[in-house]
């Protein structure tokens, strides 16, 4: 059992400091992104479901759901804990295409669009992407270890991988 494990659900985000571990499971077309300030050992993770909040309709906006809102929100929450925006680095995984057909329809390409939007947003905020394991046609569970800065990517088809 991992101590200080913080679970992040679908369209959810959270931050942790020190020896904590962030985990989100069952990423398919969704993208899991972790931000990290190694100096202050503060980390954040978001489970992004959709590329852009522009398509949101009705009700309160869940910032964690969209690439363009989740990443700024993570940055904000981490800086409240004492992280420096300038030192932030990113790792990301997910954005798969779980089902093989119809790659031309927008809905079916959602994985690739999520990856693209996440990268755009990171670029906009000048956060370098240190590593990624995206695309493919398989699901992933990811764990970010705040002490070491390692992102562990688990999958049924490809086994474990450290980023």
């Amino acid at each position: 059992m991992i101590e200080n494990l913080v679970k992040i659900g679908i369209a959810d985000l959270n931050v942790v400091a020190g020896s904590g571990v962030l985990r989100t499971s069952g990423l398919g077309s969704c993208v899991g992104v972790s931000l990290y300030d190694s100096n202050s050992q503060i980390a954040g993770m978001a489970h992004i479901m959709l590329p852009s909040s522009e398509i949101a309709r009705g009700g309160a906006l869940n910032l964690a759901k969209y690439a363009d809102t989740a990443i700024p929100e993570l940055v904000e929450q981490m800086s409240k804990l004492g992280a420096s925006n300038k030192r932030l680095t990113a790792k990301m995984a997910g954005g798969a295409q779980m089902f093989a057909y119809c790659a031309n329809s927008d809905t079916m390409r959602i994985g690739a669009r999520n990856v693209e939007a996440t990268k755009n947003q990171l670029n906009k905020l000048s956060i370098p992407i240190l590593a990624e394991d995206t695309g493919g046609n398989f699901g992933r569970t990811i764990e970010f270890y705040c002490e070491s800065g390692v992102l562990l990517v688990r999958s049924v088809q490809q086994g474990d991988k450290e980023l």
């Binding site: 499971s25 069952g26 398919g28 779980m98 089902f99 057909y101 569970t141 049924v156 088809q157």
Partner: protein, 207 residues
């Protein structure tokens, strides 16, 4: 906007009936293929948080066999046919006489058989749905995935994702011989489709 998350009791009952007819037809197809009696539970119609949905299939990381069919037309939506591994292996044995050697690596033959079974069942669910509602619904080619339940099912939640953090699921469990083969038929109409489905069935709409 149509309050898709606030259905009246009688509207939920209509959706239950939609599930009953769709899954009932699919179960009949399966029963014919297997030459065995297939039992079906009363469909559950629930508005669930995204988080809760993979739990219905054994948890986010539980590996399932899923056939996904997207349908477009007058009332677009998603259909999943989901089996646990043990059930898939029994199905393969019963239907195709295939003894699965290693359930972690299905052979081409096994995959193709599973895909075909899923095609037939998801197709028959959709056909009866279209007949029952007299709506024009056109299916995509069904596709198979064997992976974490969370990763697989999230594909069916994208349309609801634009509205909120919940989805309405019409979930029907079927089984053969107590629990030897057990699976789920999941129907997830797009949020906009409920209006059309209710209207097609002559169900009064709430304002």
């Amino acid at each position: 906007m149509f309050p898709y998350n606030k259905f009246a009791e009688f509207q939920m009952d209509v959706l239950k009936e939609v599930g009953n007819i769709g899954a009932g037809n699919a179960a009949t197809s399966l029963s014919k293929m297997m030459n065995k009696v297939i039992d079906m539970q009363v469909p559950k119609v629930e508005m669930l948080d995204f988080e809760e949905i993979p739990e219905k299939l054994g948890g986010s990381e539980n590996v399932v066999i899923a056939v996904f069919l997207r349908f477009e037309g007058e009332a677009p939506g998603n259909i999943f046919f989901v089996l646990q591994k043990e059930s898939a292996n029994r199905l393969l044995k019963n239907l195709a006489g295939i003894e699965v050697q290693d359930a972690n690596v299905y052979t081409e033959m096994e995959l193709s058989a599973l895909n075909e079974i899923g095609n037939i069942l998801a197709g028959s669910y959709l056909t009866s749905l279209a007949d029952f509602t007299s709506l024009n619904l056109t299916p995509s080619v069904p596709s198979l995935a064997i992976d974490m339940a969370g990763a697989v099912i999230s594909y069916g939640l994208i349309q609801f994702g634009q509205m909120g953090d919940q989805a309405l699921l019409i979930d029907t469990v079927f089984m053969e011989g107590q629990d030897a083969v057990e699976g789920h038929f999941l129907l997830i109409p797009d949020p906009e489709s409920f209006h059309t489905i209710f209207r097609a069935l002559g169900v009064p709409l709430n304002d």
